[in-house]
């Protein structure tokens, strides 16, 4: 039982007062960020990363804080779905379908509590999946050489656009843009400056934290400015009565088979690169509808329709951490942001992480278990408090978000130049969002660019300039094949899936109107 002893060591790390306090803070802030429409897990984590750094937290405490925010935001996303019929983030979209009708029937409290339990089940068992699966994946990853890593990075880019973008050319452009940004600065191999235009500030390259906070957090401020006074202004929405908050045991029991099935499905969707939580919640809901919806009650306030997507998307959140920790390749947008944290802390994710920094990995995993229990405890009795956050209008909230973003970046670098670059990224993020260009590949490109190039050059150098080394081993061929399938498949099915998700949500909204 080597695994268990490692996990026990992890708990020893996670159970210090400081780490418990950080987990609690992360869960609380994360739930709030998740609940607010517009601010999803990626924004939440993006805003708090610079703070974690400026506070001088070590690697494990920073990670515990930020993954707690991540899990918390996944829990919180459901709150505005149920109460306002506005998903807090994309994965919570499916929760609107039955959550909002339940709220209209005066069962908002029940829906919130049940979805909290379902979130717990999904996340808790997905964390177990992470414990069991990640070390196995590490064994595979130890077989990787530079050529395999290069192919793996290509695979990550090919699949990350996934269903989150309908246009693969735009995903590819975004990835190239990110990689291009990563090239700015001094070449680590030969020491020559590249793309710096003689500007000294650029010799160190562009800090990816600046890019992340600008692209995610500041662009959100611009989105709110654009939509001021329109339907995105949640302060104008009518309020729901919460009603009874503790769900009856019979209600939970009736949803157990649903939660079981969708947890497994969501976890698998999370592990697969690129699929992420949106797909997790969508296929969970669709499958449950097909299996249990004999009386056509799904979409009219069926509790199983609330439990399914919530268990599914939270399980996917846990699943997405598997490739991130074991291979250094994120399975979703938010894990890409978490990867940035690891890199910024000088920790290289991937197989060596498990042998070189076992305290970081197992401390983190233990903190996830603890965080889940905290989130469950917070989300049942305190759900009334979180719903009150929705009363804070964006005109007050968004300036705070913007200012905290500035504080975080200024705290790290103390440089006005970085702040201006960040504003530039904010504007760019807004324009790219309008054009439906996904932002996550840009982030991933800036993050992985140097590592990808290093592996590329190392592989070719070892082979003495023979480029065919990149497709020489069976493993590289396998990875390239998956990459090509992953890139082509969304062109064939991604649009359909995405349209169905939107249609399901819009159709339900239409009945409401």
């Amino acid at each position: 039982m080597d695994l268990m002893s490692q996990l026990a060591d992890g708990f020893a790390v996670a159970l210090t007062w400081q780490n418990l306090a950080l987990a609690l803070m992360g869960c609380f802030l994360g739930t709030i960020m998740g609940a607010l429409p517009g601010l999803g897990p990626s924004n939440g984590v993006a805003i708090l990363i610079p703070l974690a750094f400026t506070l001088g937290l070590g690697a494990t405490p920073s990670l515990i804080l930020l993954t707690s925010v991540y899990y918390g935001a996944m829990y919180g996303g459901r709150i505005s779905s149920i109460l306002l019929n506005i998903p807090g983030d994309e994965p919570a979209m499916m929760t609107c379908l039955d959550g909002y009708p339940m709220a209209q029937q005066g069962r908002a409290g029940e829906a919130l509590a049940l979805s909290g339990v379902a979130s717990f089940v999904g996340a808790f068992f997905a964390t177990w999946g992470l414990v069991l699966l990640a070390p196995q994946l590490v064994k595979v990853a130890l077989l990787f050489g530079p050529a395999e890593y290069f192919a793996l990075f290509a695979l990550a880019f090919a699949t990350l656009g996934g269903i989150s973008s309908t246009n693969q050319a735009k995903s590819a452009f975004a990835a190239a843009l990110g990689l291009g940004l990563a090239m700015i600065g001094v070449d680590t191999q030969t020491g020559v400056p590249r793309f710096t235009f003689g500007e000294v500030h650029l010799y160190d390259g562009i800090d990816f934290l600046v890019a992340i906070v600008g692209l995610f957090a500041l662009s959100e401020v611009f989105v709110f400015l654009e939509h001021r006074g329109t339907e995105r202004d949640i302060s104008r929405q009518p309020r729901m009565q919460i009603g009874r908050i503790v769900p009856s045991w019979s209600l939970i029991r009736s949803c157990i088979p649903t939660m079981g099935r969708t947890t497994i499905l969501g976890f698998i969707a999370g592990v697969l690169p690129g699929a992420g939580a949106s797909l997790g919640s969508f296929i969970s809901y669709s499958m449950e509808k097909r299996i249990v919806d004999r009386d056509n009650t799904f979409g009219t306030g069926d509790p199983r329709g609330v439990a399914a997507p919530e268990a599914g998307n939270n399980a996917a959140a846990g699943g997405a951490l598997v490739p991130m920790l074991a291979l250094g390749v994120p399975g979703s947008g938010t894990t890409a942001v978490l990867l940035a944290v690891l890199l910024a802390l000088n920790i290289t994710p991937g197989p060596l992480l498990f042998t070189q920094n076992p305290d970081v990995v197992w401390g983190l995993i233990a903190a996830l278990f603890i965080g889940n229990v905290m989130l469950l405890a917070m989300n049942i009795p305190m759900v009334g408090l979180f719903t009150r956050v929705l009363l804070v209008p964006p005109r007050i909230l968004m300036p705070i978000v913007a200012m905290i973003s500035f504080v975080g970046i200024y705290g790290i670098s103390g440089s006005s130049f970085d702040l201006m670059v960040m504003v530039g990224f904010g504007v760019m993020g807004w324009v790219l969002r309008k054009l439906d260009v996904p932002l996550v590949p840009i982030i991933l490109g800036t993050l992985l660019g140097n590592e990808m190039e290093v592996n590329f050059r190392r592989a070719v150098n070892i082979a003495d300039g023979d480029y065919s080394v990149l497709i020489s081993s069976p493993l590289t061929i396998l990875l390239w094949s998956i990459a090509i399938i992953g890139f082509v498949l969304p062109i064939l099915v991604g649009g359909v899936l995405r349209r169905r998700m939107r249609m399901a949500h819009d159709a339900e909204g239409a009945i409401e109107d």
Binding site: N167, P399, M403, G411
Partner: protein, 143 residues
């Protein structure tokens, strides 16, 4: 049309990137691959992607009207000014000004905006400077 413009800009960017890559000074330490090859690959991917949406644009996004565009542009300018003013005015004053502007433009009444702006600035200062000990920009008055 937006995608065509975007594709055009992307193509120019790809060409510019490729050209910049071609003038990278190689050092005598260079390896077999050198510092140019990977940027060339990136420029190629960027170029092909740009040509794709030049030829096959998506449906037009809903661009906001000129007023709203100006709104976003001004907000960006205020943020740039904030970045420059931060070391001069100090955190509390600069932040109060910027937060007031954003609050006002997001739909608060003027007086209300001033109150919220100042409260935001002081609130962040208290939490991050006084409680957490973060170093924020110091102005002429020490805060």
């Amino acid at each position: 049309m937006s995608d065509r413009v975007f594709g055009g800009i992307g193509l120019v960017l790809a060409l510019f990137f490729g050209w910049q890559a071609s003038i990278i000074q190689e050092s005598f330490l260079s390896d077999v691959v050198g510092p140019k090859m990977f940027p060339y690959i990136i420029a190629t991917v960027m170029g092909i992607a740009s040509i794709y949406f030049l030829l096959k644009p998506d449906p037009e996004p809903d661009w906001p009207n000129a007023g709203r565009l100006a709104e976003i542009g001004f907000a960006a300018l205020v943020m740039l000014a904030y970045a420059l003013a931060l070391p001069q005015l100090g955190f509390v004053i600069a932040t109060a000004l910027a937060a007031t502007y954003l609050t006002w433009r997001l739909g608060s009444r003027p007086l209300e905006s001033v109150i919220i702006g100042v409260a935001t600035s002081v609130g962040i200062y208290v939490v991050f400077r006084l409680l957490l000990g973060l170093s924020l920009a110091r102005g002429p008055f020490g805060f």
